[in-house]
Symmetry: C3
Subunit: 183 residues, 3 copies
């Protein structure tokens, strides 16, 4: 009698487990960032090694801190100049997108080639090389923020600051550092 | 017999629970940040939604990363201008205080209206919009630091940097980002 | 008989424990940062207390967030001036090294005098006081990065940004904030 009761009890539990299994499997389909990068034809680059006593990324617990990256051009070199004078806002935004691609490329290498390990993007510090009168830093940094949401969807939405620097290394147009949470 | 034993056992347990209840309730009185905001007549604002692909706050574990906020005036608009030329140090300090109020307002919304969930303020990056000769960034950012200690007491004391930016979005006087630890 | 077996069994176990003991002790020798500081004759300073409502370091979990520090001279005072105009790159690099010494000095005090509690350096934000045309921020911040690797070896390698600020407090040449992971 008791055994029969137990069996009846097992049915809904197993059903719930199956349902959960399907749900989890669906969720994984939704977060296949590697597939999305291919779909959207986003071309990652081969990350450049740092030339000093630092590293491009450090993991602590499930957080990855990425060093400040610049607008690396696919053909090599970087986009240089001050946004608002040497470069238009659109060009600055494109520089921020390239900076985002550089960050994602480093992250992919750091994660052994698998961006699906990413849980979410946590934080950006978006630094724009510009003169003292420039005020459109958020529009510029959107180039990177939009890319992150294109790849990671809702999990790509992050806290951020978008600010104007007096100068940046080798006069690059944009520098961005990023914190990412892993699954 | 067994029942009697149980009842006897319950007495000290219930007493201990009551004592614990009083203790917890006392502890909550000390850290009732909501009450302190009312006492000190600090007027929070309705947070403005971000206008791009980012969010005002992201939680990872028990840390909340808040995006860079600006000096939002209670009546709408923001305090603009370079501290040290367009604005005095005192006006800059007041801008930093308004930035702090904006950060706390966002945090309160993020925490479902309950700032008592805060354990401590961890870190500020305080960015002052100013010319190349300005050197009083710490005095300016004190406007925010003092507010945090006014509200959170010892738990409001944080690590910080207070630095001078070449420019800030829409020429706002101050931008501050904050990391907070939750209980 | 059984006892004899046990004794035989104990021999390799004890041997393994001894070997492990030696290994751990060797590992500790390798990461004796306190000894390395003495060996390399790096002179730490007495940390200056902050003069406002903030603290020099905050611990959250096993992370320590250190406030922005400046280039404190051993004899008192700080190195001031803009790198690239008032100061050469070499002088800027020396300022970054002094800033690193100031950070390590604060960290040592925070850790009750024992830098061997450090697991690794996680992240630097290296801010150089310079004019809009300066582009050698990474070379300047290397002064701090090199010091960290000198003390902590591989565990001193960190993620970092090295950027140009329009201005810094009291015109100091360099300001650096740091995140450290504890064992």
């Amino acid at each position: 009698m008791k055994k029969t009761y137990k069996s009846f009890f097992l049915v809904p539990v197993l059903t719930a487990c199956c349902a959960l299994g399907t749900f989890v499997s669906n969720a994984q389909t939704v977060t296949d960032y590697e597939a999305r990068i291919k779909e959207k034809n986003i071309k990652l680059i081969k990350p450049v090694a740092p030339i000093a006593n630092y590293v491009k990324a450090v993991q602590v617990g499930n957080l990855v801190y990425l060093s400040g990256h610049g607008p690396d051009k696919p053909e090599g070199g970087q986009i240089i100049g001050k946004v608002g004078s040497d470069l238009t806002i659109e060009q600055g935004k494109e520089a921020a997108r390239l900076t985002g691609i550089s960050l994602i490329s480093t992250l992919k290498g750091f994660l052994g080639g698998d961006l699906n390990k990413v849980k979410r993007v946590v934080k950006l510090l978006g630094m724009v090389n510009c003169g003292p009168e420039f005020g459109q830093q958020p529009m510029v940094i959107n180039g990177c923020s939009d890319l992150l949401v294109e790849i990671f969807g809702e999990n790509g939405k992050h806290a951020r600051s978008a600010v104007g620097m007096g100068s940046l290394p080798n006069n690059i147009a944009v520098e961005i550092e990023m914190i990412v949470e892993l699954k």
